[in-house]
């Protein structure tokens, strides 16, 4: 016996008023709409509980009554009343097909009740599955999970920079500056600028260096020596270093350009 779960929540008197057939008194419609989840639910209840014999229902009266509900429910819950109306239409259609004389050539046709039975049984199974799910242990109800505290430390990572990021940034600088035609950077030029920084670093440490000390002739290849020389010239051109020589053929010195 399947009693609607919400029917059980209704007071005793309401349960006593549950319908015996598909006719629902208009003044009780709202109660039924609340107690049942729809016409399938109501039909299922009637079949399981009362062994409903739909053949005994005066279909003409039922139809008139359902039309009456629809009028009453026009303002609210219209779609719910429509569900019930649709169900009674299905039932009437089934009944009418049952009453039609059977022709020999359509004898193989499926019993018109089969589809309704299939739907009712599927709905019944879902209804029971829903009850079972509702009773299933749930986090927050029957299950309480561990949530002890821990000190959240964040290992701060410096931003990652890729070569692509760097190139994109430089490209956007060039584009915005609008004079990139004059700033095409070759590998050689990059090397020169890098050497400029290195020479400045060394001069910062030693104040003054002999020109020849800046060249590692034994270890550096010719191209690197050239790059170093270009770096010195560029430093001088940009006024970053001062190159001095007391007199011809005496050592040439490099020092940071500093007026002191």
């Amino acid at each position: 016996m399947i009693v609607p779960a919400s029917g059980a929540r209704v007071h005793g008197e309401v349960i006593a008023e549950l319908p015996h057939d598909l006719y629902i008194p208009p003044d009780a419609l709202e109660v039924y709409l609340e107690a049942f989840e729809g016409p399938l639910d109501l039909l299922l209840y009637l079949i399981r509980k009362n062994n409903l014999d739909i053949l005994d229902i005066p279909m003409a009266d039922l139809t008139r009554q359902y039309m009456g509900y629809v009028e009453k429910m026009r303002e609210h819950k219209l779609e719910l009343a429509a569900d019930y109306l649709l169900m009674s239409a299905v039932l009437i259609e089934i009944k009418s097909r049952m009453l039609l004389p059977k022709h020999a050539d359509i004898e193989q046709e499926e019993d018109p009740r089969a589809e309704l039975v299939r739907r009712l049984m599927e709905y019944e199974a879902i209804k029971l599955a829903a009850q079972r799910l509702d009773e299933w242990p749930q986090v927050g109800h029957e299950i309480i999970v561990a949530r002890a505290y821990y000190e959240q430390i964040v290992e701060t990572q410096p931003p990652a920079v890729s070569l692509d990021d760097l190139m994109a940034a430089w490209k956007s600088v060039l584009e915005r500056a609008g004079h990139f035609k004059h700033h095409r950077i070759s590998r050689e030029e990059l090397s020169v600028r890098e050497h400029m920084s290195q020479i400045l670093r060394r001069l910062k440490e030693h104040k003054m260096l002999e020109f020849s000390a800046l060249f590692d002739v034994a270890n550096d290849g010719l191209s690197k020596l050239v790059v170093c020389f270009l770096a010195i010239l560029e430093l001088a051109r940009e006024g970053l270093v001062r190159i001095t020589q007391q007199e011809a053929y005496t050592p040439i010195y490099l020092q940071i350009n500093q007026a002191d």
Partner: protein, 187 residues
């Protein structure tokens, strides 16, 4: 503490992580704890050992280590829940019958459209029900059926499985368990 270099220390790191994590920890999560210096098979073994350390007859007995859909978590043994419930009088609300039927259809018939749900229940689906199940992250849209209107296809999520203490949908009773005796329609 240096990197744990024996199973006892490793289990302690796992226990600390599992007792403090607000979400179940997957094996991949737990491998991160050891910064790559842990084999998956070893981790499984350690979890089994840790689970055994937390048993009713052990010193550690209030929690149990369980495996759910998205990983492992500690949860209070059921005998304590009645007391813990006294701390939080207002619990997450239970769903209406309509909502539970809708959920059951999604659970057992997924992926389904709203139309499928309406067909099975015989009534229109209240959009609030779908919304609240989605907001709880119990269901989500996994695709669209290729018919006019391209209706959304709904399915249950890992969070749903976690919240119901399930490792997979197959942990639920099969649909056949709910199929009742055949009915005779006396039409």
């Amino acid at each position: 503490m240096n990197e744990p270099n024996n199973t006892q220390e490793m289990k302690q790191v796992l226990e600390a992580a599992l007792l403090t994590s607000s979400e179940p920890l997957s094996l991949d999560d737990m491998l991160k704890l050891f910064a790559g210096r842990m084999e998956r098979a070893t981790l499984r073994m350690l979890l089994d050992e840790l689970k055994n350390e937390w048993q009713v007859d052990q010193v550690k007995s209030t929690m149990e280590l369980v495996q759910v859909a998205s990983g492992w978590r500690f949860q209070a043994r059921s005998e304590y829940v009645q007391f813990l419930a006294r701390l939080t009088p207002e619990r997450p609300q239970r769903y209406s019958r309509a909502a539970m039927e809708t959920l059951a259809i999604i659970v057992y018939r997924q992926p389904v459209t709203r139309g499928d749900i309406e067909q099975i229940r015989g009534v229109a689906v209240n959009p609030n029900i779908m919304r609240s199940l989605q907001e709880r992250n119990w269901i989500d849209v996994v695709g669209h059926r290729d018919v006019p209107g391209r209706p959304a296809l709904y399915a249950t999520t890992r969070t749903f499985l976690d919240d119901l203490n399930l490792r997979s949908l197959s942990d639920l009773p099969p649909m056949e368990a709910f199929t009742q005796q055949d009915m005779q329609l006396q039409l």
